[in-house]
């Protein structure tokens, strides 16, 4: 390894090529738009990540609330309210939606919307993965 060290010492005497003096400044100036891009990309996933636990918790609470007859929940509107008011309302809403989808135009529009949404999500997923080769 002695000869290797000799070459190492010798080669390290010659300096590396260096870019222009303001190179670091120029990189840092261009980081601002890049940072904004990163922010947009991050916010979507962070948003989903942040909302998911709350959504699950809300769902869990709704299920417990709808099925439980514990006295601790007595101060809340109660299961009767759900059965007599909210569920019939949701039922009629769903019936209206069902009627709307009886139209092929609405169904086509809905399918196109769903497909576009899926394509958008797939594109986002792969463009994020392929940042580095």
């Amino acid at each position: 390894m002695e000869e290797n060290d000799f070459l190492r010492k010798l080669i390290q005497q010659s300096p590396l090529d260096s870019p222009s003096d303001d190179f670091v400044d120029r990189v840092m100036i261009n980081l601002k738009p890049a940072q904004e891009q990163v922010g947009v990309k991050k916010s979507f996933f962070l948003y989903v990540k942040a909302v998911l636990p709350y959504a699950l918790l809300t769902l869990l609470f709704a299920v417990v609330y709808a099925t439980s007859d514990l006295p601790i929940l007595n101060w809340l509107p109660g299961v009767e309210y759900l059965q007599n008011s909210l569920f019939p309302y949701l039922g009629s809403l769903l019936a209206e939606l069902k009627n709307a989808f009886a139209s092929k135009y609405v169904s086509f529009g809905f399918l196109i919307g769903i497909s576009a949404g899926l394509l958008f999500l797939i594109d986002r997923f792969f463009s994020r993965r392929s940042t580095i080769q």
């Binding site: 002695e2 000799f6 890049a34 990163v38």
Partner: protein
């Protein structure tokens, strides 16, 4: 100020302190630029690629998993980008028996070169390095100036580790030969 480990600055950047990235750029700019220059042979193009790579690395910093060194990851980005820009072929694999090892007395060369003054040594090694091809010069730069290991160079260039070793060995021989020739010329 003492420079901390690269990962220290990466954590700070990811924590929102973007200005910490300037220290990473300042530390790696010369080698990143040198890699690009060796491949592109044009200072303006090399500077453009180097700048793009630092931006690209910044944008992808949250995907850097710290399994390898930051420098290896960064140099691989610049290597790939420069290769794509030139549409040049990547470093090609060479078989182990594809070259002849010249039995130059390397210790003898080392001893002779060691006796001359540092400025002359520097001029000699620069002249010797000019005789290398761009690919050879790139490997030598990564190994000796960038202080990358064989494994790092293998990760950066996509060559197998044994091929990197063979190439470096051959380049060392070539440099020794050049230095020996220069010493002979100087003595005669």
């Amino acid at each position: 100020m003492k420079y901390q480990d690269d990962n220290y600055y990466i954590d700070r950047v990811l924590g929102g302190n973007v200005s910490a990235y300037a220290l990473l750029v300042a530390k790696h700019k010369n080698l990143v630029f040198s890699i690009a220059l060796k491949i592109l042979n044009n200072r303006e193009d090399a500077e453009e690629i180097a700048q793009d790579c630092f931006l690209k690395a910044f944008q992808a910093l949250n995907t850097f998993e710290k399994k390898s060194k930051f420098s290896t990851w960064l140099y691989r980005i610049v290597y790939n980008a420069a290769i794509s820009k030139t549409r040049k072929k990547r470093l090609e694999l060479i078989p182990m028996d594809n070259y002849v090892v010249n039995n130059y007395t390397e210790n003898h060369v080392a001893a002779e070169v060691d006796e001359i003054d540092p400025e002359e040594q520097k001029a000699m090694i620069e002249r010797a390095m000019e005789q290398l091809t761009d690919d050879e010069s790139l490997l030598i730069t990564l190994f000796y100036k960038g202080e990358n290991s064989i494994e790092d160079i293998s990760n950066i260039t996509g060559l197998s580790m044994s091929n990197v070793k063979v190439r470096l060995h051959r380049i060392r021989k070539k440099l020794h030969n050049e230095l020996a020739l220069m010493m002979n010329r100087a003595l005669n």
